[in-house]
């Protein structure tokens, strides 16, 4: 095993630039596998309970293509601005591995169903970068190998074919990414688009989204590409980022010392935070692709494609734009709310019947609700607080009946009890006093109690208002509406 890799923050002799292309596999959100009627719900279920003669490669069986998988794949390609091929062909990729019962994987090779797309990726510095998509093709997943049970390492391997034959799209980007951050941002944008479009759930923990990276280095400003390494086993977005950064250091050290980067497949070891050469794979790289005679070609009839395109939901980029223009939200608020389809739908449901309350509602959702959802690892679609109830809560805040602090307390109770906002406001006694007569009464008392502050404020010392508001809050046991109190104090002293 090779062990090169100085610590982070190394300086290199040459100013290198990272060149990265990503190959992302996403499982399509179908009910059944790509070529047989076995369910795709086998994750976490007993091994080999979603299998049949087709997906276990029994002799004499024939694959039949899943129409829904094709539709979702086409929609994914359309959402990624790809060109759909009039006709595409399935090919056999031949290799022996125990997770592949037929000894070939049905994939697409020379004639994938789509090519030449692109994805706009929002970068941290505010720029938007267009990452070109080389191709998207359809293929079946392999089974899953187990090498240990619990913490016990086995001296044999176990195979579970529950996910064997599940429908995947492989999305191959051009080598347009220039840093680990860009790779991370690309994956984030890709996941958002595919989830929004309903093509894939992209649940990484279930292996529904997986990523390989091709990475090479070159002196900044140079045109030609360096020799690349292919990184595998990148099981999270953070894994991709860490592995690319490690690989940058490894390759820079090699190049700086006059050595060469070897073209090879390297495995990311998340525990050791390093990549290592996977020599055993090299022999097997002769896949002998050929068209699968068991499958007819796939044709993308224009009417079919048009109908699929028309039924695509609004995509994140368009949604962000609309949230800014239609609801007058900031770019930040819009991007947070539009990043997740369920969250965006929840927000808009809560917003109906709350004219002009978008900002108040956005604050509640982003600052309060999202934290709770994340803490419970819950999607907005399963939020225990109905959208309508959150809308009602926002209305109370907007009307001044409730402070934002009060809203937070009420929300916590709504989360537990599911009771309507108005009921909880009464139960908790957190409603704000916005009644001018009552507020003026407290203000008069405050002015008498703090004559110096009153005089200071009158002579233009704005800061003196703080102690007066403080007295009012104390008298009201924290229930006075502070914004209204400010206005009324100024009125009172200017009389």
């Amino acid at each position: 095993m090779e062990r090169v890799g100085p610590a982070a923050g190394m300086t290199t002799k040459t100013d290198y630039e990272m060149v990265v292309g990503l190959e992302v596999h996403c499982q399509l959100a179908t009910r059944t596998k790509l070529f047989c009627a076995c369910g795709t719900d086998g994750f976490g279920e007993t091994a080999n309970t979603r299998v049949c003669p087709v997906c276990t490669g029994q002799p004499g069986t024939l694959p039949v293509l899943n129409k829904r998988a094709v539709e979702l794949a086409f929609q994914a390609a359309l959402a990624l601005d790809c060109r759909l091929a009039e006709e595409s062909v399935f090919a056999r990729k031949n290799y022996f591995y125990p997770d592949l019962p037929k000894a070939y994987q049905i994939s697409q090779y020379e004639r994938p169903f789509s090519t030449d797309g692109g994805l706009d990726v929002a970068l941290k510095d505010g720029r938007v970068k267009r990452v070109r998509i080389h191709r998207v093709h359809l293929e079946e997943d392999a089974g899953k190998l187990l090498h240990e049970i619990g913490s016990k390492r086995l001296d044999y391997s176990l195979v579970d074919f529950n996910r064997g034959g599940a429908p995947l799209i492989e999305i191959v980007s051009e080598p347009d990414l220039r840093s680990s951050e860009e790779a991370y941002a690309y994956l984030t944008a890709l996941k958002e688009v595919l989830q929004h479009a309903g093509c894939s759930r992209c649940d990484m923990e279930k292996g529904e989204m997986r990523c390989d990276a091709n990475v090479s280095l070159r002196a900044r400003g140079r045109g030609e590409l360096g020799t690349r390494a292919e990184l595998k086993n990148l099981n999270s977005f953070k894994g991709v980022k860490d592995a690319l950064e490690y690989e940058f250091r490894r390759q820079a050290a090699l190049l700086d010392s006059g050595r060469r980067v070897v073209q090879e497949t390297r495995l990311w070891d998340a525990q050791r935070q390093e990549t290592r050469s996977m020599r055993s794979k090299e022999e097997a790289h002769d896949y002998r692709y050929f068209p699968d005679p068991d499958l007819a070609p796939l044709r993308a009839a224009p009417e079919w494609v048009a109908a699929l395109k028309a039924s695509l939901p609004e995509l994140p980029a368009a949604k962000r734009q609309r949230f800014q223009s239609q609801h007058a939200l900031s770019a930040y608020d819009a991007s947070v709310l539009a990043s997740d389809r369920e969250l965006a739908e929840y927000f808009e449901r809560a917003l109906s019947g709350l004219p002009g309350g978008a900002k108040t509602l956005a604050n509640l959702v982003i600052n309060e609700l999202l934290g709770k959802l994340n803490a419970e690892k819950m999607t907005a679609g399963r939020c225990p607080v109905p959208a309508e109830s959150l809308g009602e809560l926002a209305r109370l805040v907007q009307a001044g009946t409730l402070s934002s602090k009060g809203a937070k307390d009420v929300l916590a109770r709504m989360w537990e009890s599911g009771k309507p906002a108005a009921v909880l406001v009464a139960e908790l006694g957190v409603s704000q006093v916005s009644d001018d007569a009552q507020l003026r009464d407290w203000i008069e008392q405050a002015l008498r109690a703090q004559p110096q502050a009153a005089a200071d404020l009158k002579s233009g010392k704005e800061r003196a208002i703080g102690s007066l508001v403080g007295v009012v809050m104390k008298l009201s046991k924290g229930k006075a509406n502070p914004a209204r109190v400010n206005v009324l104090i100024k009125e009172a002293v200017s009389r």
Binding site: L65, L154, V159
Partner: protein, 95 residues
């Protein structure tokens, strides 16, 4: 047209076949005959025939996305040389 013993060994390896020296020569000869037969096709003028992956004239043979669970998974496992519980058991293949 020639096929070297090295070619035969490589093909055998890819097909997971363990061949003796005699077999390498035997199959090498047979493979060569097959390739020569195929080469005869090259004498035909196919310039007006578009390349095709399928001769059936079919396209879009599709099925609906309706689960139909197979109810005899155990029979499939029973075909395996070795099993352990619900799993197929294979020699260790850890990278």
């Amino acid at each position: 047209m020639a096929i070297s013993e090295e070619d035969v060994r490589k093909i055998a390896k890819l097909a997971r076949l363990d061949l003796s020296e005699d077999e390498v020569r035997l199959y090498g000869g047979q493979l060569l005959k097959i390739i020569e037969s195929m080469a005869e096709l090259e004498s035909l003028d196919a310039s007006s025939v578009p390349p095709t992956a399928s001769v059936l004239g079919l396209a879009n043979v599709l099925r609906e996305d309706e689960p139909r669970p197979f109810d005899d998974g155990d029979a499939l496992l029973a075909n395996a040389p070795e099993r352990e519980g619900p799993y197929y058991k294979v020699p260790k293949v850890l990278e």
